[in-house]
């Protein structure tokens, strides 16, 4: 009885983890890519995130009280990325990959239309403090709302709202005044 029950529970957990994985693989990869700045590290980070998530999935479910687990996944990725940089004893020279790779994310059509402002925005994002950069990645690349971002960053909703507001303001200044963008010098 107990064994059957446990097996059923494991099957349910596996099924639910599968749903989580399918729903958020792109989110985790997108976060990882914009966070670490290259595809190779982003792949490693994504894999490690989901394996660690699987290991702690049951407890996370219990503690989430039914709330979405995406912030928890992103927090795992955040912690792993922090460890990656700590182990390497450096921050990435370019937190977001070289512009050549980034622009490849966008269509040729956009580039032909002279959307170099996208590159300027991305260059500006690189210059933001870590917490502001991460908040913008979560908001705009992953489409997370303030509450989700707050949970992922272990902040209050209010503090998160202020953080995002300040991040956008700072980015506007950076993008609006190329002289503040060190990459353009």
């Amino acid at each position: 009885m107990t064994e059957t029950h446990l097996k059923k529970s494991k099957a349910q957990l596996d099924g639910e983890f599968s749903e989580l994985y399918r729903a958020h693989l792109r989110d985790v990869y997108s976060y990882a890519y914009y966070r670490v700045g290259d595809h190779h590290d982003a792949e490693d980070l994504t894999e490690q995130t989901f394996l660690q998530a699987y290991r702690h999935f049951e407890r996370a479910q219990q503690e989430s009280n039914g709330r979405p687990l995406r912030p928890w996944l992103i927090r795992i990725a955040h912690n792993l990325a922090a460890n990656l940089y700590r182990d390497r004893s450096r921050k990435p020279a370019s937190p977001i990959d070289e512009n050549s790779n980034l622009t490849a994310l966008h269509t040729t059509e956009q580039l032909v239309e002279g959307r170099d402002e996208l590159s300027r925005v991305l260059a500006g994002v690189q210059q933001l403090p870590d917490d502001r950069r991460e908040a913008l990645i979560m908001r705009f690349a992953l489409g997370m709302d303030n509450r989700e971002i707050a949970r992922a960053m272990d902040r209050t909703d209010g503090a998160t709202k202020v953080l995002i507001h300040r991040a956008i303001k700072q980015l506007e200044e950076l993008v609006g005044d190329p002289r503040k963008d060190g990459r353009d010098e």
């Binding site: 099924g15 693989l25 997108s30 894999e47 959307r115």
Partner: protein
């Protein structure tokens, strides 16, 4: 929100477009997760996943087992996948060819052996 602010946020949303994961990443990860879900708790311990409780220990086993940077481990996964007959559904219900239990156990043993070899030299 002013029009300028709205436009800037639209631009930001366009710049930070979501990035699709490479197909081989999804395949590799799904295969690994499928294998892992077949494992009993005791087997997981034998696989030395306990070393991964501390995130600082993640790099080595993860690299050896999953990331593909350790060719040996990646190859045993591929070998196991080739050996495994396609099943209608696996524990994760993933669309890739699934490992049956016996194949998963072989994979576990192979991975454990290969991982020990790979980590033993470091």
């Amino acid at each position: 929100m002013s029009e300028a602010a709205h436009n800037f946020e639209s631009l930001l949303r366009e710049a930070l477009t979501p990035v699709e994961p490479p197909a081989d990443l999804a395949e590799r990860l799904e295969s690994t997760l499928t294998s892992i879900t077949e494992l009993a708790a005791e087997e997981l311990e034998a696989w030395e996943l306990s070393t991964m409780r501390d995130p600082r220990n993640w790099a080595r086993p993860a690299a050896a087992i999953v990331a593909g940077s350790a060719a040996g481990a990646a190859l045993v996964v591929l070998r196991a996948r080739r050996r495994a007959a396609a099943r209608p559904s696996g524990p994760l219900g993933l669309t890739l060819p699934h490992l049956d239990r016996a194949a998963a156990e072989r994979t576990l043993r192979d991975l454990s052996r290969e991982t020990r070899k790979l980590l033993g030299d470091r």
